[in-house]
């Protein structure tokens, strides 16, 4: 089934972005972003609201296409139809069918990725257990709480055991205990070699990432390990680094704007 081949796919980075540009109605939202994410990394994307995180990860998956630059996933240029099998995507909006039960939703998304029969049922049970929704699978999603929908959405992204996970704010609306268990699972997956790209506004989540990318006004202003970012900003926490780096950037683009 997994037709995500190429002989040296193991050696290729999970993602390679080169000089990405994206404009909406003449307004540049992403500007010259280059980034390489090796396989098996847990990569976090931080940035203020509206800075372009969602836009960037949509480009990474090929759901959206850049106006300039190139993206390679596992060595393959994208967008490409077969590469859509390679990753699991969880959008910022829940995007579930409210009339259907949790199980019917999972069965549908599973079937889209070619799962069927007993394998599909087994995967549904496995991911539902992971996000602690096993007892609620028979309920229509319209009757779920916000956090339950979020978890179901995450479960749907995990169904086909993708080698790459792209999660847009996966833990919004999830209580602290469950959030911890979700992150424990992400860490486990990461150790198994799954590449995970996650956007977040939560700083203690950011600290759990192998590397962080900070994005501001469509530019990648820092890419490094959490420790290195803290050290470079000369502060004590990620939160302070986030604010400090943001101010530096604001000053720089402020002077740049007068040119």
């Amino acid at each position: 089934m997994s037709a995500i081949p190429s002989m040296n796919a193991e050696l290729e980075p999970a993602l390679q972005l080169h000089q990405i540009q994206r404009r909406f109605n003449g307004k540049t939202v992403l500007d010259g972003i280059s980034l390489t994410i090796p396989q098996g990394e847990l990569f976090g994307l931080l940035g203020p609201s509206g800075s372009g995180k969602t836009t960037l990860i949509k480009l990474m998956t090929g759901i959206d296409q850049a106006d300039g630059g190139s993206v390679r996933m596992l060595g393959e240029p994208i967008p490409q139809l077969k590469m859509l099998q390679a990753f699991g995507y969880m959008a910022q909006a829940d995007a579930l069918y409210n009339e259907l039960t949790g199980k019917q939703n999972l069965a549908f998304f599973g079937a889209l990725f070619g799962l069927k029969g007993e394998q599909l049922q087994a995967r549904i049970q496995a991911v539902a257990a992971l996000v602690e929704l096993t007892d609620h699978l028979g309920k229509p999603v319209g009757a779920y709480s916000g956090g339950m929908k979020r978890r179901l959405s995450l479960a749907a992204a995990l169904l086909h055991e993708p080698r790459l996970l792209v999660l847009d704010e996966p833990t919004v609306g999830i209580d602290p205990v469950l959030r911890r268990s979700v992150w424990a699972e992400l860490s486990t997956l990461s150790k198994q070699g799954v590449t995970i790209i996650v956007t977040t506004h939560v700083m203690d989540e950011a600290e759990k990432c192998n590397r962080l990318g900070m994005i501001r006004d469509g530019k990648l202003i820092a890419v490094d390990t959490p420790e290195a970012i803290i050290a470079e900003a000369g502060v004590a926490t990620i939160e302070e680094a986030f604010i400090a780096l943001g101010q530096q950037q604001a000053v720089r683009s402020g002077t740049g704007a007068t040119r």
Partner: protein, 339 residues
């Protein structure tokens, strides 16, 4: 495989939405029943006032289903006409009989003139022509004549609306993006929609046809299988057109805005009204309207008992429209995912 998953999902969603099911299945039956009541009522019986009319004519008129009220003076009769108590006044003037019609209802005008003509003629000559009908018959009501068009129209209308709104919701709820983040092909999305909705439109077509013919007693000279075929093809055209146009709407209200632009003109050009009097150049517009072909075939089958060779062109054209719209749908999806 993915097409099947999509079709099953649409069917499951539909079954849980009882109101929409009712709209699809019961609303057309309700409207058809109302149409039947409105257009298939009793024969028109006009109220005619007479002044100084010979007894022989009065007898003839009342035999012909008119209520006759005799007046002594023309003024009295005209007064009654103005007060809306009469539909027409006949009086004998200096130059022979004169008729004044109330005049605001064309069908009433025609009925009265025909009736008076017939009674006067019956007096004049005794040779009545022998009348035979090639199609239809003396009992055929207006409802029988445009009923086949209505069957097609309602299948088209409701399916268009539902398909448009469903596809729009898929887009606005973000599920389309999620769908397109899976390795499904754009053509599979369109085919999945066709398959899922196709099942319901098939059931709807059968229900409407059965109800019109067996419950409402609509005139039916041809084969029911052909009626179902045409109805199904019309629904598929509506389905593909509805999903296509929903790409150009950003909310449900904008789908509704397509009704006066896309649906209503088709109703005008589909045979509900006789187009022979229209400018031939304008008549050509009907060639671009799916409903025109559907209605043409439906009338042919139900009224004239036409067989395959008579309406096959309509079938091909409808299939052509569906294919065209489906293809454009696949292209329109490019807006959301370029591969």
């Amino acid at each position: 495989m993915r097409i099947r998953a999509l079709a099953i999902r649409i069917i499951l969603q539909f079954i849980k939405d009882k109101r929409t099911l009712a709209l699809l299945f019961l609303a057309p039956l309700l409207v058809l029943s109302l149409m039947k009541l409105v257009f298939d009522g009793q024969a028109i019986s006009p109220d005619i006032g007479t002044v100084d009319l010979p007894e022989a004519y009065i007898g003839g008129l009342s035999n012909a289903n008119a209520a006759i009220i005799e007046y002594d003076s023309a003024d009295e009769a005209q007064q009654a006409l103005r007060e809306n108590n009469l539909d027409a006044v006949i009086q004998i003037g200096a130059n022979g009989p004169a008729i004044t019609l109330e005049g605001s209802d064309p069908s009433m005008n025609k009925a009265i003139l025909l009736l008076i003509q017939n009674t006067l003629q019956a007096k004049a000559s005794s040779i009545a022509p022998a009348v035979t009908y090639l199609h239809g018959g003396p009992d055929m009501a207006p409802f029988d004549s445009f009923g086949p068009v209505l069957i097609g129209f309602f299948s088209f209308f409701f399916v268009f609306l539902l398909a448009g709104v469903s596809f729009l919701r898929e887009r606005t709820s973000g599920t389309l993006e999620r769908l397109l983040a899976s390795p499904i092909r754009r053509s599979e999305v369109v085919l999945g929609y066709l398959a899922g909705f196709g099942l319901f439109t098939l059931v709807q077509s059968m229900l409407i046809a059965w109800y019109s013919i067996h419950v409402l007693g609509m005139y039916m000279a041809g084969q029911i299988g052909y009626v179902l075929l045409i109805n199904l093809l019309l629904s598929l055209t509506a389905l593909t057109l509805g999903t296509l146009l929903s790409s150009f709407a950003s909310n449900e209200f904008q789908i509704i805005q397509f009704i006066p632009i896309v649906i209503v003109p088709q109703a005008f050009f589909s045979g509900l009204f006789n187009l022979d009097a229209m400018n031939p150049w304008l008549q050509k517009i009907s060639n671009a309207m799916p409903l025109f072909y559907g209605a043409d075939a439906m009338q042919g089958i139900m009224i004239r008992g036409e067989g395959w060779s008579d309406f096959q062109i309509d079938v091909y054209v409808l299939i052509g429209f569906s294919l065209l719209f489906a293809l454009l749908n696949v292209l329109a999806l490019k807006k959301h995912r370029r591969m």
